[in-house]
Point group: C2
Chain length 372, copies 2
């Protein structure tokens, strides 16, 4: 194997595929990158048996072949080379040789035959959307994914195509995040729950561009296809919550509030509510809605905190306990200046919604206050 | 106690003094900030019994008094308040009350009588230099300080005033860093070894400005005085190495090299030399000097690396082993484009020097190569 490439081009490829490298594994081959030539292209592949990434790039191939090399070491060396032409080849001792100006590196390699094959995917359904739109939807839902392994289905985001809309949903038992995007072309309905780990990596590979990404699903696998790059992942097994049935349709109290003001108040009061010597105890904050005013209160050993925020109020007054972190996570994922918050009783979930459209719903369950 | 201040002003003060707050202590009072009013000023003080910081700022004092409050909590709350006027007072229950727009925080306090007094310093000798110059000298020597507590004197930098020059010196047994600055006014000779921990904090407080900082020393203490801020520290006991005697006066091989090229080569080869399964084993790199060319070699389980750098050579050819980290640390601290490196034999230290002036000397001891 022998090829010549420019540093900036191969670095772009490596930055994409290294995200599929296994980090904690007893199989050294999974810490490697499979490099394969194919006429005047090279293909880089990484696969941790759950998530696989392929990147194809044109370059000047002088001798066909394939090899597996440790991903971290190879990437780090390439990253530190001068911005110049790089000669990469395999020598007679099966060492991968990297030459660039005065630098000459020879790395131990592994047998490409031992590299596990990526699953072949028979795509049954697919949609194409802008990369920046998908990136946005992932970023604004993924924080609500469950980290508890005892309900694996909730460690991923539901991708649901329904009525020409893409809904991305995350649930962790205490809150829900839902983002919706209209799909301008006719597409089939389908559902798939993609592991959060995969989405985190996909999110890093996606660019803030109008270029499209195609999401395809088969029975057990999903694939994200970009121009040079393809991400293959397993789909989580099991039935996702029928989330629409748990989102309240009516409210008894609705407020309209400046998002940043509310976010700042929750940030400050979190300092008090999260600062407690008894780490395991969760101190909720008390949220009270009156006419024109929302008050947040918290008291513990560290001190006493009160935040008042101007709002417009509709409906009844209310008092309920909440974990301020859940509010903060949701508010940070919202770009609008003003939002609606809809409350039911002090034991029913509250909803954060747009005042302008139906692009998102964040739902947060209340916490019972002491003495209630 | 009661005063009114603007957020940006008190944040500047807090950013300076929090660096003197004890991080791991069994005495909660040392995690506090002492706040004292004095006519139309407040003074903030922190002291971890080794390093003390005082900051004085003007503000509208409405009631005189003093209090100690947890530094982290107080600073974090102030940092997250709106950019506005802040009312700070102590109420009848001895809670520190912070009011700013809709936010009201009450924090537990501690007795100011229990806060340890900063040592009074009888300054015997002092010099004044520009803050940016001191910052520069600290940053460019401190990395060579010893981290081993068995020779405490080398865990600090020597500040030596001699012949109207300030020399700052750090030594860790394997290398030495020396920076020199001419003092344009007549000053007395003196010496003091300042703990690296203090210098790290002083470095963060110093600004990149022409404003001066006055360094004063007494028998056991040193003080750094800036406009509103004063840092007090103990001096390390003991005799510092007579460093001038260990720096070689002559060379047998001298090279002139582009600093960045050499630095890049050492960075790359460090990837190989530091990547070994046997973590405790140190793999030195082999440095060879020939006419016009410096070669760096390293071989271990990970692979083989060779770097060639163009140089101008004077004197003999040479081969010696070195820890590339020591070269990297020194090269990163040099701003010049070209440098001299002077070698003796393969068991004597090498020196990195400026080609233009005598502002610095970095000395690195060689490592015996396997098979020598």
């Amino acid at each position: 194997m022998k090829f010549v490439c420019y540093k900036d081009k191969i670095i772009k490829a490596l930055n994409s595929v290294v995200k599929g490298v296994a980090s904690k594994t007893t199989m050294p081959i999974l810490e490697g990158i499979l490099i394969q030539t194919n006429d005047n292209e090279i293909k880089l592949t990484t696969y941790d048996l759950e998530l696989g990434i392929e990147y194809v790039m044109e370059c000047e191939v002088k001798e066909q072949g394939s090899i597996v090399v440790n991903a971290t070491m190879f990437t780090e060396i390439i990253r530190k080379l001068p911005d110049s032409e790089i000669n990469i080849s395999v020598n007679d001792n099966n060492l991968l040789t990297i030459e660039c100006e005065g630098a000459l590196y020879k790395l131990a390699t592994m047998n490409p035959e031992e590299f596990p094959e990526l699953p072949k995917i028979e795509v049954e359904n697919s949609i194409s959307i802008e990369q920046s739109a998908l990136k946005n939807m992932i970023r604004k839902t993924i924080f609500a994914v469950s980290t508890e392994e005892n309900r694996p289905i909730f460690t991923g985001c539901l991708f649901e195509i329904k009525d020409n809309k893409l809904n991305v949903v995350a649930i962790d038992g205490f809150r829900l995040a839902l983002r919706t995007l209209n799909i301008p072309v006719q597409v089939n309905d389908f559902k798939a729950v993609i592991p959060a780990k995969t989405l985190n990596e996909v999110n890093k590979i996606l660019t803030e561009s109008f270029e499209t990404v195609k999401i395809g699903v088969s029975k057990n696998q999903a694939v994200f296809e970009m121009e040079n790059c393809k991400v293959v992942t397993r789909i989580l097994d099991g039935e996702f919550l029928n989330y629409e049935t748990v989102i309240p349709k009516n409210w008894q109290t609705r407020i309209r509030v400046e998002k940043n003001n509310l976010q700042d108040s929750f940030e400050r009061i979190s300092l008090i509510s999260s600062s407690t010597i008894e780490k395991e105890k969760k101190y909720p904050v008390k949220v009270s809605v009156d006419i024109g005013k929302l008050t947040i209160l918290c008291t513990n050993q560290t001190g006493d905190a009160k935040e008042e925020v101007f709002i417009s109020t509709e409906g009844q007054n209310l008092e309920a306990g909440f974990n301020p972190k859940y509010f903060l996570d949701s508010l940070k994922a919202i770009d609008e200046e003003e939002i609606y918050i809809e409350f039911g009783t002090n034991v029913s979930p509250c909803l954060i919604k747009s005042v302008e459209n139906n692009d998102y719903v964040y739902m947060i369950l209340p916490i019972r206050l002491k003495g209630e």
